[in-house]
């Protein structure tokens, strides 16, 4: 089908492996995401925090650096310690960045396809509905992983390399907490954003509802707790649930709320609900029977 021939011919060349085709979706999506200067700036900012944390780890493990800071160095050495609390604060800050990145990116991922009837074009290709969702999910999973658990593990390894094997052996639970809680948070954010994107078909509205679910969820949780004199109202407060799971894994005092098993169950149920919504909405054509 050469341009100058203006005639049709079949493609005679090799094909890519079937399993890898869903990765085309995030590759094209990344180009769109990083077209926005605001997003590039915001992502760079979210990467700068781990860099700052890395510098802090270097300074706290390096007496010469602390000495060069004089009294401030002594003060810093007394106040800051690379321990569970240090990493829990890191996770909290990065979770915030992950949240706002999802607000900007997530709601437009599927709604753009649905708004212009693009789904039949995707699903008439040799990819399944699950692969389509996985491809869209990969956009958020990859971006958010970079600033949460990947950055967290790099900091953990940096600290381990400086503090020695004993510190590493004594703090393996910190690494596990970084991976598990970050993954849970990323899944909650990503699947909710995709579900709203598929459900509402309008990026702006989906974005607003996404923010509202978290902020109104906090208020609703407080209300339920006050009315029923319970702590179970926090099941509507996803960031609180994640913090409880993280604190229990890190071995620090958890915030008020249901027990860890209740938090994990609530999060899994919520993830299941998002998947169900995606299952119902991601179809080439909606059939009204």
């Amino acid at each position: 089908m050469a341009v100058y021939e203006h005639s049709y011919s079949r493609y005679p060349g090799p094909f890519t492996p079937a399993w890898s085709r869903f990765l085309v979706l995030p590759r094209f999506a990344f180009k769109d995401v990083f077209k926005s200067r605001l997003l590039v700036f915001f992502y760079a900012l979210s990467v700068l925090v781990p860099v700052f944390y890395g510098l802090a780890i270097y300074a706290l493990n390096n007496l010469e650096v602390l000495d060069s800071l004089g009294n401030a160095g002594d003060e810093l050495g007394r106040m800051l310690k690379v321990d569970e609390t240090f990493f829990s604060v890191f996770l909290l800050v990065q979770s915030g960045f992950a949240f706002w990145l999802t607000v900007f990116i997530g709601p437009g991922l599927i709604s753009r396809d649905l708004a212009n009837n693009g789904l039949p074009l995707y699903l008439s290709r040799p990819i399944s509905r699950a692969e389509y969702v996985l491809g869209k999910l990969a956009v958020l999973l990859l971006l958010l992983s970079g600033i949460t658990w990947v950055a967290g593990l790099l900091l953990f390894l940096l600290q381990s390399s400086m503090a020695g094997w004993e510190w590493l052996a004594a703090n393996l639970h910190v690494a596990a907490a970084i991976v598990v809680t970050s993954t849970l948070w990323i899944l909650v954010l990503s699947l909710l954003a995709l579900a709203l994107s598929a459900w509402l078909r309008w990026k702006v509205v989906a974005g607003l509802l996404f923010v509202m679910i978290f902020f109104v969820g906090d208020l609703f949780a407080l209300l339920v707790n006050m009315l029923f004199r319970t702590e179970w109202g926090h099941v509507f407060n996803f960031d609180q649930l994640i913090q409880i799971v993280a604190a229990s894994m890190l071995g620090i005092r958890p915030p008020d709320g249901p027990p860890v098993w209740g938090c994990v169950l609530a999060l899994l149920l919520f993830l299941g609900f998002c998947l169900l919504l995606l299952h119902r909405k991601i179809r080439a054509y909606q059939v009204v029977s």
Binding site: A2, Y8, F15, L121, S128, S289
Partner: protein, 317 residues
């Protein structure tokens, strides 16, 4: 050797509505027109073959691949141009077609090359870097055709490809479809409610009615078989005249209040018709040899009186 499309008792049900009912057959034509009034099941059949709907009974195969068990393998061989306005906003045409090519398994470099070629082929070469949302309807239709062709499918589903196009746009689309068909590498299934489109592009027609196959035929063979087809306009007692010509062994059908279509036995001469008209005190005002048109085939399949049925209005010749 398996047919291009093979159906075995295929039924598709949406709740209480049975959209396709027990369809069976093997279809291997180079260009098959899918005809039927609104709601006949044309689009449902295409969607089922693409794996969008699960059969409630029976099976369907595309190039031997079962669309239920091996839908991805079937879709890898299919190019699909949907009926409705379908595109991805915020993308240039070349990027859109390239992405579709890559999703079908083309490596990135080849997908980009084929995207350029496909867009030039459909006549969008100069506009290929424009955003899709800025395209006119005709251009969007051609972009949809380009994405359906980019990966070099063996089977092309075109669902109402000339919908909403102005006459030059339609001509251009028909020419493209004929060109693809004549390339010889691809089978075309053209679903349309425009009989003229099907007549121009297709060699075979599959007519659906109420979710069932009403007729499957080769257009050329059908035309050849109807050489002695006559159309008459009668003044006087038409019913009596029709009854009289039937005694001579003619097959006849009313084609309106005063019009009759008939197929004469080989030995019968035209003067016999005039003699009968004189006997019945009827006048033959008009007599013409005609080939059976697709419209006639369609109307026969629908069991419709050509001028007397309201459903006729849904299909345009």
């Amino acid at each position: 050797m398996p047919g291009v499309i093979e159906l075995e008792g295929l039924s598709v049900r949406f709740g209480k509505v049975e959209a396709l009912r027990n369809l069976s057959g093997s279809f291997s034509g180079r260009a098959i027109g899918l005809l039927g009034p609104n709601g006949a099941g044309k689009t449902t059949l295409i969607h089922t073959l693409l794996g969008f709907h699960r059969p409630s009974a029976g099976s369907a195969r595309v190039f031997g691949h079962d669309v239920r068990r091996n839908d991805k393998a079937a879709r890898a061989l299919i190019g699909y141009m949907p009926e409705r306005d379908s595109f991805i906003a915020g993308m240039s045409a070349v990027r859109f077609v390239r992405m579709m090519g890559e999703l079908s398994g083309l490596p990135p470099a080849q997908a980009l090359e084929r995207a350029h070629e496909a867009l030039f082929y459909v006549g969008l070469g100069e506009a290929r870097y424009r955003m899709l949302e800025t395209y006119s309807l005709g251009m969007k239709q051609r972009a949809k055709l380009a994405q359906a062709l980019v990966h070099g499918p063996k089977l092309l589903f075109l669902d109402e490809p000339t919908n909403g196009l102005d006459p030059p746009g339609r001509e251009r689309m028909i020419k493209l479809i004929k060109n693809v068909r004549d390339a010889g590498d691809v089978h075309v299934i053209l679903s349309s409610h425009l009989l003229r489109d099907v007549e121009e592009c297709c060699e075979e027609v599959l007519i659906l009615k109420d979710g069932k196959i009403a007729r499957y035929c080769n257009l050329e063979e059908e035309r050849r078989a109807n050489r002695k087809f006559l159309e008459l306009e009668i003044a006087g007692d038409v019913d009596a005249y029709v009854a009289a010509v039937r005694t001579l062994g003619c097959e006849s059908a009313r084609a309106g209040k005063r019009r009759i279509k008939m197929v004469l036995p080989p030995e019968l001469r035209i003067r016999e018709l005039y003699r009968l008209a004189a006997e019945q005190r009827a006048q033959i005002r008009h007599l013409d040899y005609k080939k059976d048109s697709l419209q006639d085939i369609f109307l026969k399949a629908m069991d419709l009186d050509p001028l007397g049925d309201a459903d006729h209005g849904r299909l345009r010749a």
